[in-house]
């Protein structure tokens, strides 16, 4: 067997024995995993499972109790690593602004100077907007856009500055079903052409079917990384939850059901 350079696995993200405390509560509990460059990873987990905290840790914004996080072999520091971040949706300020200006504010947004947008910046912003089909939206005031439309602008914003790693926190949350599938397709295509690694947190796995390489499943701050067929099994999830879990197949979808009152977390389309 000969190995081509492409098959050499380069970990873009390494997390070792990570524990994060908020007060006395363990938000992330001895989490270890490593992700190869170019992967498309779905981050799953219920509310409060630690998805957003994990993203903030990868960005270097949290002080850890224990553990190490390396991006491209470097220990993380805010703004140092090449990471595109899309935070969870919330109300946007400056509704009178055109969407374009809101997006462009992130172009080298950490660098000192005036918010002056040169040709290169305009080209990059327009390319990012085109990638999420938001060029037309961007010329309207933010206040006139729907939640889903604002979300597409924020997604475009995460594409700026040529990141190697994309952290997308619930980028599908306020989209309708058709838009979800379309958005995942666009993220996938953009990430592939730019050779980006993607971590995308979501509650709904259906639109991701056929795109994802790995699932990172979080429960109460504990994590399990693997291929879909490795993670979405009763055995693996029972070990992760620490209580008996069933993975139920119904209507062509997989449902994760915990014993305490059928806490249906995620559904995903079955393999085969």
């Amino acid at each position: 067997m000969s190995s081509t350079p492409h098959s050499v696995a380069v970990p873009i993200l390494e997390v070792q024995d990570l524990t994060l405390l908020r007060g006395k509560q363990k938000v992330l509990d001895s989490v270890s995993f490593s992700i190869q460059a170019g992967s498309f990873v779905a981050v799953l987990g219920g509310n409060g499972a630690g998805k957003t905290s994990l993203f903030r840790v990868i960005l270097g914004l949290e002080s850890l109790k224990t553990g190490q996080v390396r991006v491209l072999g470097q220990e993380v520091k805010p703004g140092k690593a090449s990471i595109g971040y899309m935070p969870q949706m919330r109300e946007l300020v400056a509704g009178q602004f055109k969407g374009w200006n809101m997006v462009a504010a992130a172009f080298r947004g950490g660098v000192c100077g005036l918010p002056w947008y040169n040709q290169m910046c305009c080209a990059q912003v327009n390319a990012a907007l085109a990638a999420v089909d938001a060029l037309d939206l961007a010329h309207r005031p933010i206040a006139t856009l729907s939640g889903g439309q604002q979300q597409r602008l924020m997604l475009a914003q995460a594409f700026l500055d040529d990141p190697r790693l994309l952290l997308l926190d619930e980028p599908l949350a306020s989209l309708d079903h058709a838009r979800r599938r379309d958005t995942v397709q666009r993220i996938y295509t953009y990430a592939r052409t730019k050779e980006m690694t993607v971590l995308l947190s979501t509650h709904d796995m259906i639109p991701l079917q056929g795109f994802i390489d790995y699932i990172l499943y979080l429960v109460d701050g504990r994590a399990l990384l693997g291929r879909v067929e490795e993670v979405m099994t009763a055995q693996a999830l029972t070990a992760l939850y620490g209580t008996p879990v069933e993975v139920v197949q119904a209507g062509g979808h997989l449902f994760v059901v915990t014993k305490e009152g059928g806490d249906t977390l995620h559904s995903c389309a079955c393999e085969g």
Partner: protein, 266 residues
């Protein structure tokens, strides 16, 4: 009217003050921190009167008071600042201390009047130089932090991810607000800081210009309103501050009208 040295000085002072109030006010309104300039002016008042009591220049006391409180505000998190009861208490305490100092300062009611309502027609050369250096320093610092400050305002989480310290940048910005407030009170007094700091910016921001255009337009409007106030005051002999406040309101009204009209046309 430009034959008189005091009018020339007044126009110069109005220009120096407006070029700082424009961009700082633009960010202030965008960040929804308008109230901060009001608060800083009140604490500055206590500082100014205290300085007068110990025979120091009011401007110095004002500057120290409001810059220190700007730093303090920035150091404490947003959430505490948003607490209107605490702000109210601090403001009334500051005004109370100011009044106490004035009580000890029986010789000059004039000083109190010019602190409260401004005295742009009485600006001397020293004050003009002080304004020049304050404005220049303020603009240089703002030019350096404008880009991260804009992102921190629009998308705080993204700014953090790009290595911007929200706390630090808020702190620096509030110091700029404090300096701009100190300058502004020379023209409008403590009670009418809003007229130059907030009114032009509020009018321009409604128009949805891009950041640089918005800041320049705000500055132009601030210069226009303060100069307009001086001219109208010259011909009517009504107080300058009244005219600046009136023009501020008119400017905002016109801007609002333009927005309404453009909505109707659609």
């Amino acid at each position: 009217m430009l034959h008189y040295a005091f009018m020339r000085a007044a126009f110069m002072a109005a220009l120096l003050i407006s070029i700082v109030c424009g961009p700082v006010g633009w960010f202030l309104v965008l960040r929804r921190q308008s109230f901060a300039s009001h608060a800083l002016a009140h604490v500055g008042f206590a500082g100014a009167t205290a300085a007068l009591v110990v025979d120091q220049p009011a401007l110095l006391g004002f500057g120290v008071g409001s810059v220190l409180s700007g730093v303090a505000m920035g150091a404490i998190s947003y959430r505490v600042i948003g607490h209107d009861v605490i702000i109210g208490l601090v403001l009334s305490l500051a005004m109370g201390i100011g009044v106490l100092c004035l009580h000890f300062l029986t010789r000059s009611a004039h000083a109190a009047m010019s602190l409260l309502f401004g005295n742009i027609l009485g600006v001397d050369t020293n004050t003009l130089w002080a304004l020049f250096f304050l404005s220049a320093g303020c603009l240089v610092v703002l030019a350096c932090i404008a880009r991260p400050l804009l992102l921190a305002t629009l998308q705080p989480e993204v700014a953090e991810a790009k290595g911007v310290s929200l706390r630090l940048i808020n702190c620096i910005f509030l110091v700029l607000v404090a300096v701009a407030t100190v300058e502004c009170t020379q023209a409008t007094g403590i009670l009418l800081v809003f007229t130059l700091m907030v009114a032009p910016a509020a009018a321009i921001i409604r128009q949805g210009f891009s950041p640089i255009v918005g800041m320049v337009a705000t500055t132009a409007l601030a210069v226009g309103e303060s100069w307009g106030g001086l001219v109208l005051s010259w011909y009517t002999s009504w107080p300058v501050v009244f005219w600046i406040a009136a023009l501020g309101a008119v400017g905002f009204g016109i801007s609002h009208g333009i927005v309404l009209l453009s909505l109707k046309r659609k």
